[in-house]
């Protein structure tokens, strides 16, 4: 693939652009793109949005043509009116770990209820060995996913122990 032509002066300027400027421009575009994506997906036009926000269409036109500096409040109003998130904040790492554990607990529960305690003898006899292996796999996986004393808060560990103890 051939190299894309670049202007030498702009290449020099690029070397000294602070990271925050690049992020400012990229994030501003990303927010605008996200708003237009939701409007497009939901088939909402400017006048619908104005109605749901209780504003004049001319004001919403300014919002959608960039003549408005969004604040967290105006973005929140927009999110409420559109029924979708415009900006997503990454979850805290301990919350993520807990979410991962919860999902595994759910999968484990489902497995135990649906397969191991299946009352159909036919199914049990056909797949008992396989199910037993899967049980061990699920159980170990669950154990490994949870045991991380560095980032899992004690409260979450207690919740985990409480949740798996009946099993």
């Amino acid at each position: 693939m051939k190299d894309l032509k670049k202007n030498s002066r702009l290449s020099e300027i690029r070397k000294s652009i602070p990271k925050e400027t690049t992020l400012y421009v990229e994030k501003s575009h990303a927010i605008a793109d996200r708003i237009f994506e939701i409007l497009d997906k939901k088939g909402i036009d400017q006048s619908d949005l104005a109605k749901s926000l209780g504003k004049y269409e001319s004001e919403i036109s300014k919002w959608l043509t960039g003549d408005h500096n969004f604040t967290i409040y105006s973005l929140a109003k927009m999110e409420a009116a559109l029924g979708e998130e415009i900006i997503q904040i990454p979850k805290r790492s301990d919350e993520l770990v807990w979410l991962k554990c919860t999902k595994r607990i759910e999968a484990f529960d489902k497995f135990v209820i649906n397969v191991l305690y299946d009352k159909t003898e036919k199914k049990r006899s056909e797949s008992f060995f396989h199910n037993e292996q899967t049980f061990v796999w699920y159980f170990n996986d669950l154990k490994n996913a949870v045991i991380n004393p560095e980032i899992i808060p004690d409260e979450s560990k207690k919740r985990y122990l409480k949740e798996i103890s009946p099993v």
Binding site: K6, R14, I17, V25, E26, H29, D33, T65, D67
Partner: protein, 165 residues
């Protein structure tokens, strides 16, 4: 005074090719813009303009991103995009999602560019090029394919440069 002006490739990006206009024997109009504003007073604004080039270059030149500067029936607009604050305006013609022709620009101090004779001249120059480009495109003297122009990209326009004070 009638003068020859040519459309030349300025920069290529993943999704957009930026062209510029260049009077015979002179540097391009966009280079002149950077000659004037790439200094300590405008470094933050120039950084925003260049970052905006790159962002649009990587995602495509959507109509909504460009500031409308001209009338409803022409293609005159300006960068940086609508979504960022900047004191500078660089005139351009958004041909489609893949091609943008850059001109010269100015520091925005008035409500409309017409109030500033130099800005008005830069805008009129681009509009003259656009008018002749449309004719050449319609007669197949110039073709568009992907992100490229093909054919004769030189034009003779009336150059009514305002007198320097």
């Amino acid at each position: 005074m009638k003068r020859k002006i040519t459309i030349e490739l300025f920069e290529e990006h993943d999704r957009v090719n930026y062209y510029t206009i260049c009077f015979d024997g002179e540097s391009s109009e966009t280079d002149k813009f950077f000659d004037l504003f790439d200094n300590d007073d405008f470094s933050e604004d120039i950084n925003i303009v260049v970052s905006d080039f790159d962002t649009i270059g990587n995602k495509g030149a959507y109509e909504r991103d460009f500031r409308r500067e001209g009338k409803s029936n022409d293609r005159l607009c300006a960068l940086p995009s609508n979504w960022v604050s900047c004191r500078l305006r660089l005139f351009c013609l958004r041909i489609n999602e893949q091609i943008v022709i850059l001109g010269n620009g100015y520091e925005k101090t008035s409500q409309t560019y017409n109030e500033n004779p130099t800005a008005n001249y830069y805008a009129e120059t681009l509009l003259s090029v656009d008018k002749l480009l449309r004719i050449k495109l319609s007669r197949d003297i110039v073709q568009l394919y992907n992100r490229q122009f093909y054919g004769d990209l030189s034009f003779i326009i009336e150059d009514e440069r305002p007198k320097e004070k």
